[in-house]
Subunit: 511 residues, 2 copies
């Protein structure tokens, strides 16, 4: 050890990091409460739960293994599903030349203010500044034009897993709003609109499954308004989640039909079966690391993260509870044996055998990290040939005979997964308020509700609503028009304009 060389460890001055340090040292819970101080609670729980570390560049965050494990599990699911749909992975460059970036006018207007530009390499100025992709439509479609010649080249279905950069200035928040994030972006081209329409919904269903089956977060499937749709696209479908504590909606993931707009700008033509020249129909769709943040916001509590078993890197944590004269080695051996039994059954299990922390400290630590199920093994358990299982979500305890271990743990994990979803859905549903008039609308917003209202579906009216609700809480906008539409009796009028209503739409403040 070259310990002699060691200076006094001046830890780097990261103010964001600094304020969390105490937690890491003590592991004794959060200083903010979810119901009282949501924003601070969220920042604290993602750091203390060891998902995120604040980085020395504002709006950028380190995804620690505890977060990446969740991302990897979702990726494994989604990647396998899209492969079944014959969508293939590719990788396009991070850099986009200004010429192609600007080719689709609405699209570039939507993204231009947030584009990061590389202007130098080493000490030299580049001849032309180069954009970092905020999304890859414009990087990819010149090559779609090159690759697609005849109807046999269609459909062309590509996906890539990558990072993108949007240099936002408002309220950076880990996972939810960051200047760089990870995502998959799918880009497909079809001969017919029907095929494109069908794929949009097939992908949206996968996004819904990621939220509901994996993250145990209920979402509403629907269509975005003209004002909120993807810049340059034809229409946008979305899965919308809701955070009851803040009363804000959050766009979960979007699947866009681009129509033929990009095809026109990028000249993506093909010869159809009648030997006529035709233009392709395109989709693009993406989900991001935001998913993880939504999950934290929905399930986390005052003890820390609460991870759904299907995405938790560690589903079961086993903690030895030695006691005075007890057979400590026997307890430790039982812990190791239990890990092995569960791992062999495909259950992601670890044991915490550290000798410098008390069982109580370990309980808090693994609760903070949100592990779905804790197993305690003490002298009594050893004597009775059982283990004690404690659920993270409900704190419910259960003694399990060792003979039934695998079966009962599997059942408990499935039950936790279901309970998390049910509880979240119940809370979310309780926040949905149907309104018919402007006054009801304003009242519901004030109560942090997600509002379902009959709407005339006019862009100008949405702009007016935005303007009229612009207060300290932020403007209210449409979240989506749900695919599941309640009945809309003839003569129903728009809550905002008084004109005839065309559809029901969800409205709310949002992330």
């Amino acid at each position: 050890m070259a310990g002699g060389e060691a200076k006094k460890p001046n830890k780097p001055n990261s103010s964001a990091g600094k304020k969390k340090e105490v937690k890491k040292e003590t592991g004794l819970g959060l200083s903010n409460k979810k119901d009282e101080n949501f924003g601070e609670w969220y920042s604290e729980v993602v750091v203390s739960g060891e998902m995120i570390e604040y980085y020395d560049i504002s709006g950028c965050y380190i995804l620690r293994p505890w977060a990446m494990g969740i991302w990897d599990i979702m990726q494994e699911f989604f990647d396998a599903e899209i492969k079944k749909m014959k969508i293939r992975n590719c990788y396009f460059p991070l850099f986009v030349s200004p010429g192609v970036l600007q080719r689709e006018k609405d699209h570039v207007e939507g993204f231009a203010p947030e584009v990061a530009w590389v202007t130098k390499s080493g000490d030299s100025d580049l001849e032309v500044p180069i954009a970092i992709r905020p999304t890859s439509e414009t990087a990819m479609y010149p090559y779609f034009s090159k690759w697609i010649r005849g109807h046999r080249d269609l459909p062309l279905k590509l996906n890539q897993w990558c990072n993108v950069v949007r240099w936002e200035f408002s309220n950076p928040t880990p996972f939810i709003r960051s200047r760089e994030f990870l995502w998959q972006e799918g880009h497909t081209a079809f001969a017919t609109k029907e095929e494109a329409d069908a794929e949009v919904l097939e992908i949206l269903e996968l996004y819904s499954r990621i939220y509901e089956e994996y993250l145990a977060v209920p979402v509403i499937k629907g269509k975005k308004s003209e004002l909120e749709k993807f810049a340059g696209g034809l229409y946008t479908t979305t899965v919308e989640a809701f955070v009851p504590n803040t009363g804000r909606g959050i766009q979960g993931a979007t699947s866009h039909c681009l129509g033929q707009n990009f095809a026109k700008m990028f000249e993506i033509f093909f010869e159809n079966e009648k030997r006529e020249k035709a233009m392709v129909w395109q989709n693009s769709w993406a989900y991001t690391t935001r998913t993880i943040g939504v999950m934290v916001m929905v399930h986390g509590d005052d003890k820390g993260l609460v991870l759904p078993p299907k995405v938790a890197s560690v589903q079961v944590i086993i903690i030895p509870v030695p006691y005075k004269d007890a057979d400590t080695q026997g307890i430790f051996d039982a812990c190791t044996a239990t890990v092995n039994t569960l791992c062999e059954a495909g259950i992601r299990t670890e044991t915490d055998l550290r000798d410098n922390y008390s069982p109580g400290w370990k309980y808090s630590h693994w609760e903070m990290k949100g592990v779905p199920l804790r197993i305690e093994i003490g002298p009594k358990d050893l004597a009775n040939n059982q283990v004690r299982a404690v659920r993270r979500d409900s704190s419910a305890k259960k003694d399990i005979p060792r003979a039934d271990l695998v079966e009962q743990v599997k059942e408990m994990l499935a039950s936790i997964q279901q309970s998390l979803f049910d509880a979240a859905k119940q809370k979310r549903d309780a926040c949905i308020q149907v309104v018919k008039t402007w006054d009801e609308f304003v009242e519901a917003l004030g109560q942090k509700k997600m509002v379902l209202a009959p709407w005339c579906d006019e862009e100008e009216v949405e702009k007016e609503v935005k303007a009229r609700t612009k207060g300290e809480m932020g403007a209210c906008k449409t979240l989506c028009s749900p695919f599941e539409q309640p009945e809309l009796p003839e003569g129903t009028i728009c809550f905002a304009s008084g004109k005839p209503a065309k559809r029901w739409s969800y409205w709310g403040r949002s992330y």
Copy 2:
């Protein structure tokens, strides 16, 4: 179809793309030969084989599904192996602030000229330019300092799969030398040098397996010279491949022991078991998409790519060979049935049932793409209840009874994998020349050999050799000192300096 709107398709003017277009249309082979015109052959084969598309920013390339499939297979292997070693995935930001980038002097000197800088977002100048990671040591290690406190926090073993940017100006080449590339980078910290040393070799063994078991490319394991080691590290181990056609060595992947140099600069201290302050020992290691380029260079031939079965997205391509009066539908059905049988057995198989291409065109097309095994099914095969299998590597043909299909196809794929490695090793070995004197050295270099020579292992001497060999072919340098050292009798002198030789070292021109 909005075909009426279609203008004459002015395909984008990509000169790099343009020159390849004819190939895509005809699929009738390469216009360059590997032995005559290696550089052009390589550029042509990666494009015609549909691995790469040239991009409108110089030095950046599109990785098409045919290349990404190979990357994904290697990633699956490597990721599972490092998980067994308890290395966990994370994700650090793309951006690095100038302060930390410059903290380790040798390191920044090694990378500074190639760093791309972001200076603007939207229309605004950033307060401080921000670097795009050329590698992540400096981005990560301030946080290692924060996370590591005591010996129980060690080892810390992280990995990330990501893109990095090195804005090189010399000879961009797909896969081999590009301004952005994909890689994994592992970063680990240990309490002792012994642990770090052991991991360096464990990782190097995985890199060797990627090349030899997956890509069927023989590599030499060894240590880099002081001049060639990683900037700022203690020592660098490497797997070195060789391209006989150009007589150039190529660094395959490197596993570095960083020693305590970065630990010192980034103040990564811990309290050891004796409660003393100590500094960690660190490693970093990476392999990149370059691996794919090496594979293409080693195995490709004048008909196109030659893919080793273990990494081929499609291991078997089935082509119907209908004939005049024959039962075409029966043949097509047999193709589909054969795909199903092989896929169920876990063999990646597709069939090409397009009706607008002849069997001969399809043979050429799939040979160009390097599919290891082609199965032809014609009327005779149907009648005899057999298929005809044709190897891509040797063109050897074999009739297989349908009853033995799975077993024999598996055998043939294993045999192709082995033959590719054996052939590559034989060629590589034939290029190794042992020399003892400067004259022999110069002669061997002229014959495109990889030279194994006794060396005094002095940095100044390597610089001299570089200077003396700087010709139109490029300077010669050390590739590595192989771990398998031939005997070095007492009194052996260095081929270049005449001083006593300390070890055998490989020398050559390199990529």
